[in-house]
């Protein structure tokens, strides 16, 4: 029972979920027991009808019992449907509820957790794992009534003829054992088929996506060989499953036959000797048939419960992970300026880093002894080589991660003392890799405020330089983007992300390399718009392009986790060798893009459709 001990948390989760739905499940069990009563009595009614009605020539009894059978059959049939419905109602509810909880929890878990998790794995927690739990829970009420049925039938038959009961039902416990084994053996093959099919699908997918490479190199035979190997693997797994089926299914069908033969052989002679009524003989036959499925299911539930516990364990692992970044016990309200806001200009937004130390996980610290003060309304450009820590600086302000030591303040308050929601509402960030949702363009821009007016959306769009191209689309702002919608270029996506941050109207605006994919011919437009947005607003810009850097009041050069130099663009250019190096390195990689656009003519570089980038 190593499974059971190692998945104790899984069992606890299932137990908690079941307990939360106990009234529904009890109702399900009650329905099941009503089903059992009706079902079990049918055999007895058949027996009585044969003995008292047919064998003893009593027409009245015959009619009475036949009608009774019809009525009981109506009950039994109704309860067959009802117990199934009730069982699924609770099981599907538990599945849906756990899925809601998983999603809600994932939405609140800290960045560091998501950095280490793979989307696919989290997906399967909320999908296949929950299905395993559901498949087990649905069996619980069904199994209880099934078990009672088996018990009741055994008692009834034993009262009629103990020895015949032993002969008739003696082989049936093996069915339970066989069903358990069958379920356990089949499961790995079924999983194997799924795994191998997924691998085969991966070869197909990449062959279609990479068809240009394959055709270009004439590599069709290589891919064909890979696919053949995968097809062989699927075949092998499928045949393994088929062999398991061939081994167990005929046996599972043979066992009830053994009981039926025993009944006919021994029971038949008992009837001949006058020790057993013919009705009882028929009833034995009816009951054996009745027990076939309940016994098989009893066998399956053992294996299913173990799988469900392992799955629930994995679900519990996620649910039990406590969010590391959360509200303080007694959060401090975000200070408002003396007059709140005046003439559309934000008040407040002073950011300070005080001796901050931070590293990702157990790796060496990225920032160490980092000090930076940004006055309210000031704009600062962070410049540094790859890996110097400038993106980390940006990510610490909205508490995507918490500092190891030192502190960060917003308008004089430690960010950890603010309500997380207030803090993040006060900050607008544009990430380097743009993520947009499969929704309309309007909904994407109004992400920070779903109730934003169309005018507000358009204002933000104008400032980010997307209004024009959106208006050219057939559906305008209602155009759906993403997997099944319109494909945007990288530059268009970045500009929508900028609009999204502008609409949030934050105290602090953070632009993390936010214009890297924007077509250089359009960049100046956005620069003009950005300078408008930045006026009077605290802004932190991470950039390489001199023109973008020049937007900022002050430039801060970051090198190995500290502020290495600061000043204006011109002064640093003149005085600091490292600053010149960093810019020159960035310049080299950018020259290509500029030339590419020139060669492509009318801004083709920006607007080339790259659907594979959308909604990634």
């Amino acid at each position: 029972m190593a499974d059971r001990t190692s998945s104790r948390a899984g069992w606890r989760l299932i137990l908690r979920s079941v307990r939360a739905r106990r009234s529904g499940l009890i109702l399900g069990v009650a329905t099941g027991l009503a089903w059992t009563a009706a079902k079990v009595s049918t055999g007895l009614i058949v027996k009585t009808a044969v003995d008292q009605g047919i064998q003893s020539d009593d027409t009245g009894a015959l009619v009475r019992w036949s009608v009774t059978l019809g009525v009981v059959a109506l009950f039994s049939a109704t309860f067959t449907g009802l117990r199934r419905y009730m069982a699924f109602r609770e099981a599907r509810w538990i599945e849906a509820d756990l899925r809601d909880r998983l999603f809600a929890h994932l939405q609140r878990l800290h960045f560091a957790f998501h950095d280490q998790s793979q989307t696919g794995q989290l997906m399967s927690r909320a999908n296949t794992d929950l299905q395993q739990v559901q498949a087990f829970v649905v069996m619980i009420p069904l199994t209880i009534s099934n078990a009672v049925t088996v018990l009741a039938v055994t008692v009834i038959l034993a009262l009629i003829d103990p020895l015949l009961t032993l002969l008739a039902l003696g082989s049936l416990p093996f069915m339970n054992v066989l069903a358990t084994r069958f379920s356990r053996r089949l499961y790995p093959s079924v999983m194997g088929i799924q795994r191998e099919s997924a691998e085969l699908a991966a070869v197909v997918e990449e062959s279609v996506a990479g068809v240009r490479v394959i055709k270009g190199l004439g590599a069709e035979p290589v891919q064909a060989a890979r696919l053949k190997a995968e097809a062989e693997d699927v075949y092998d797994q499928s045949m393994a499953a088929a062999r398991t089926r061939a081994r167990f299914l005929p046996g599972l069908e043979l066992l009830p036959n053994i009981g039926l033969i025993a009944v006919l052989a021994y029971g038949g002679h008992q009837v001949l000797n006058g020790d057993l009524s013919l009705g009882s003989l028929v009833a034995f036959n009816v009951y054996i048939a009745m027990l076939v499925w309940p016994l098989r299911m009893l066998g399956m539930i053992v294996a299913q419960s173990q799988r469900a516990a392992v799955s629930a364990e994995r679900v519990d692992e996620v649910l039990a992970t406590a969010p590391l970044v959360k509200d303080a016990a007694h959060p401090v309200p975000l200070p408002t300026g003396p007059s709140g806001r005046a003439s559309g200009i934000c008040v407040g937004g002073a950011v300070a880093f005080e001796d901050v130390r931070f590293g990702y996980g157990r790796q060496a610290p990225v920032l160490d002894g980092f000090d930076l003060r940004v006055a309210a309304g000031e704009s600062v450009a962070l410049v540094g080589a790859t890996g110097s820590g400038k993106t980390t600086v940006a990510r610490l302000i909205p508490r995507f991660y918490d500092v190891e030591s030192g502190r960060i303040t917003l308008d004089g308050v430690d960010v950890r003392d603010l309500r997380l929601r207030d803090l993040r509402r006060a900050i607008g960030i544009v990430f380097e890799d743009t993520f947009l949702f499969s929704d309309t363009i309007a909904a994407n821009i109004a992400f920070a405020d779903p109730d934003a007016s169309q005018a507000a959306i358009e204002r933000a769009a104008r400032l980010a330089g997307v209004h024009e191209f959106v208006c050219e689309l057939d559906d305008g702002y209602a155009t759906r983007i993403g997997e099944r919608g319109y494909s945007l270029s990288g530059g268009q996506r970045q500009r929508i992300a900028i609009a999204r941050a502008i609409l949030a109207d934050p105290r602090v605006l953070i632009l993390d390399d936010a214009t890297s994919a924007v077509d250089p011919t359009k960049e100046h437009e956005i620069r003009d718009a950005l300078s408008e947005v930045m006026r009077g607003r605290t802004t932190i810009v991470i950039a390489h392009r001199p023109a973008t850097i020049a937007l900022a009041d002050r430039v801060v050069l970051i090198d190995s986790g500290r502020v290495a130099a600061e000043g204006t663009h011109e002064s640093l250019l003149a005085s600091d060798g490292r600053y010149r190096q960093v810019l020159a390195a960035a310049e080299r990689s950018r020259r290509a893009t500029a030339a590419a656009t020139a060669a492509a003519g009318n801004g083709g570089g920006d607007d080339a459709r790259r659907p594979e980038e959308v909604a990634r």
């Binding site: 990479g210 190199l217 004439g218 990430f431 020259r591 083709g604 909604a615």
Partner: protein
């Protein structure tokens, strides 16, 4: 056992299509005819044993018990033992044979469809949606696999069981059977309705699962943005609504079976009650034996089971049929860049000549018109021009990814359409702009260019483009798995692998689509050097995005509006003051402004 399956209205096969699918399948199964016949025979026998049991009980009761003949009773028991053994054996053989035939059919179908997909030309891929092509090999084949693994034997045997039960019951007592037939109309009506409703319910559940999963996926992938904008509550609310809809959809589907299953059960037990009452009455009259009534009782309770199974399986069969139909259609798509009979190998070296070549997609307008040029062996042609002007179409004609709709493309004097595909791909290789990696190791990815290449040759190819050191220092060296299409490698590293492929292929002609996007500063210089080494000594057609590339080419072709508007050396074209000269001027001006920062350093 519950098997959900369904087919959408537009995929449902009409009679003609269904017949075509059956005919084609029969053709493909012909080599397996003996096994198919064997499997069918086993299914028939197995079905027989299911009915033989109750029949022997009837015999035992009538002749043994009521006839007071112990010998007859014993004969019935022995008969039952034989039947049970036969049931076991036939069932086992049946499962094995059907799986073997079915899985083998699936395996060959998969390989065949994929081979066909691979042979189809670039124009086909340009026309088709990738997702649809992939679904042929996945969901369409899978719906077929599901039928073979779970349903085929059951479908056949249930259909047989239903028919044979009805026949046998009628033979034993047609009067009693007639009485029991009152249950048939409601069962048929309910089954038809169930089959339709459960199909719709399945499709609805499937769609909602799909949307819940994509919502989930987006919620996880976009979690950073959600948190950055403090939108957790809104997102959770949206997810809960969708999830609730999925729950409701599940319950609608359960409700359908919750009313249908009782109808079937009631039909079984209701007719059992009828058989008991009416049959018992006739036993009193001496018109019927007790054994016959017992036989009816034992058989009737299961008579309607097959109807229920069939109505469930019907959806599965339909969806598998629709899948097969689509697969056969795909297999019927003609290959439009085929190898001609009597094709010849291309010479090792030679000039590339394009003569009055035009190209159009299908009946569309020409995307390339009357282009002629000659690229002497070993020289370099750079193609420049706006996006969509036809540069890449021209490049694709040179590599025979497309055949020209008019005119000819020749290598070493041989029309590419007369060349063997093997020699064509050996001489002319295309390197696309993005470094596309396949799942596997770095070594596997380079080896894609030449399947039989040794490890040493792969390493030499990497060295030839100066990328060996870059990868050999990784913990697993060249055996590093590039997961999820190379997400662990940078854009520049992917390009290096792509260039090493070309080095391994070692072609006479290289068609290169230069990268437009900027690379990470660390690999930029490395990639540039790799390209330079690779182009050395080969005939090159490069779709240039950097004018520095065209500057160094022997010849520059400016393509615009599907025509070759300028052709000459860099200096000639700059001097001529045409399109190229103005592009060049823009570049110089642009480079001047952006490099001001660096220039100062």
């Amino acid at each position: 056992m519950w098997m959900a399956s369904g087919v959408s209205e537009e995929d449902r096969l009409d009679r003609v299509a269904a017949r075509r699918v059956l005919r084609r399948t029969a053709q493909l199964l012909r080599p397996q005819a003996a096994r198919v016949a064997g499997a069918l025979a086993m299914v028939v026998l197995w079905t027989g044993t299911v009915l033989a049991g109750p029949y022997l009980v009837r015999f035992g009761i009538d002749h043994g018990i009521n006839g007071r003949d112990a010998g007859a009773l014993n004969a019935a028991v022995v008969g039952y033992v034989v039947v049970a053994v036969l049931a076991y054996v036939t069932n086992r053989i049946q499962i094995t044979l059907i799986s073997r035939v079915g899985e083998d059919f699936l395996r060959r179908l998969r390989i065949r469809v994929f081979d066909h997909l691979q042979r189809l030309s670039m124009p086909f891929y340009d026309r088709s949606k990738a997702g649809v092509l992939v679904s042929r090999m996945t969901s369409d084949v899978d719906s077929l696999a599901e039928l073979i693994q779970l349903g085929l034997a059951m479908f056949v045997s249930n259909a047989l069981l239903l028919v044979v039960s009805l026949v046998v019951l009628t033979t034993v007592s047609w009067q009693l059977m007639l009485v029991c037939l009152v249950a048939l109309p409601p069962v048929v009506v309910a089954s038809v309705k169930f089959q339709r409703d459960s199909n719709d319910a399945y499709l609805d559940v499937r769609d909602r699962i799909g949307s819940t999963l994509s919502h989930l996926q987006e919620g996880i992938a976009g979690v950073r943005v959600v948190q950055a904008f403090a939108r957790e509550e809104v997102e959770v609310g949206r997810f809960e609504r969708g999830n609730r809809e999925l729950y409701d959809s599940h319950m609608r589907s359960v409700a359908i079976s919750a009313w249908y299953l009782p109808v079937i059960e009631l039909a079984g037990w209701g007719t059992t009650a009828l058989a008991l009452g009416v049959g018992g009455w006739w036993v009193h009259d001496g018109a019927l034996t007790v054994g016959t009534v017992a036989f009816f009782v034992l058989t009737l309770s299961n008579l309607f089971e097959p109807v229920q199974q069939l109505s469930q399986l019907f959806n599965m069969v339909q969806s598998a049929g629709a899948g097969l139909h689509k697969l056969y259609e795909l297999l019927g798509t003609p290959v439009d860049v085929p190898e001609r009979a009597g094709a010849v190998d291309l010479p090792a070296v030679g000039d590339v000549e394009v003569e009055a070549a035009s190209f159009a997609y299908g009946d569309g307008p020409d995307v390339l018109r009357d282009v002629s040029l000659r690229i002497p062996a070993g020289s370099r042609l750079a193609l420049v021009g706006p996006t969509g002007a036809g540069k890449s179409t021209l490049a694709k004609l040179v590599a025979r990814l497309y055949d020209p709709t008019a005119g000819t493309v020749r290598f070493g004097g041989v029309d590419l359409r007369d060349a063997t595909l093997a020699s064509l791909r050996g001489r002319i290789v295309v390197i696309p702009q993005e470094g596309f990696l396949f799942n596997g190791t770095i070594r596997d990815n380079v080896r894609l260019a030449r399947a039989g290449a040794s490890d040493a040759e792969v390493e030499d190819a990497l060295r030839a483009v100066g990328a060996y050191e870059r990868f050999s220092v990784l913990p697993d060296g060249l055996d590093t798995e590039v997961r999820e299409r190379g997400s662990r490698l940078s854009g520049g590293e992917k390009q290096l692998v792509s260039l090493a492929r070309a080095a391994l292929a070692d072609p006479a002609v290289l068609v290169l689509d230069e990268a437009t996007s900027s690379l990470d500063p660390g690999t930029e210089a490395l990639v540039e050097a790799a390209v330079d080494r690779l182009l050395e000594g080969r005939t090159v057609v490069v779709i240039a995005h950097r004018l520095s590339t065209s500057e160094r080419a022997d010849m520059v072709g400016v393509v615009d509006g599907g025509e070759l508007v300028e052709l000459g050396t860099h200096h000639e074209l700059v001097a001529a003051g045409g399109r190229y000269a103005s592009l060049y001027a823009t570049w110089i001006a642009g480079a001047g402004t952006v490099s001001s920062g660096a220039a100062a350093g």
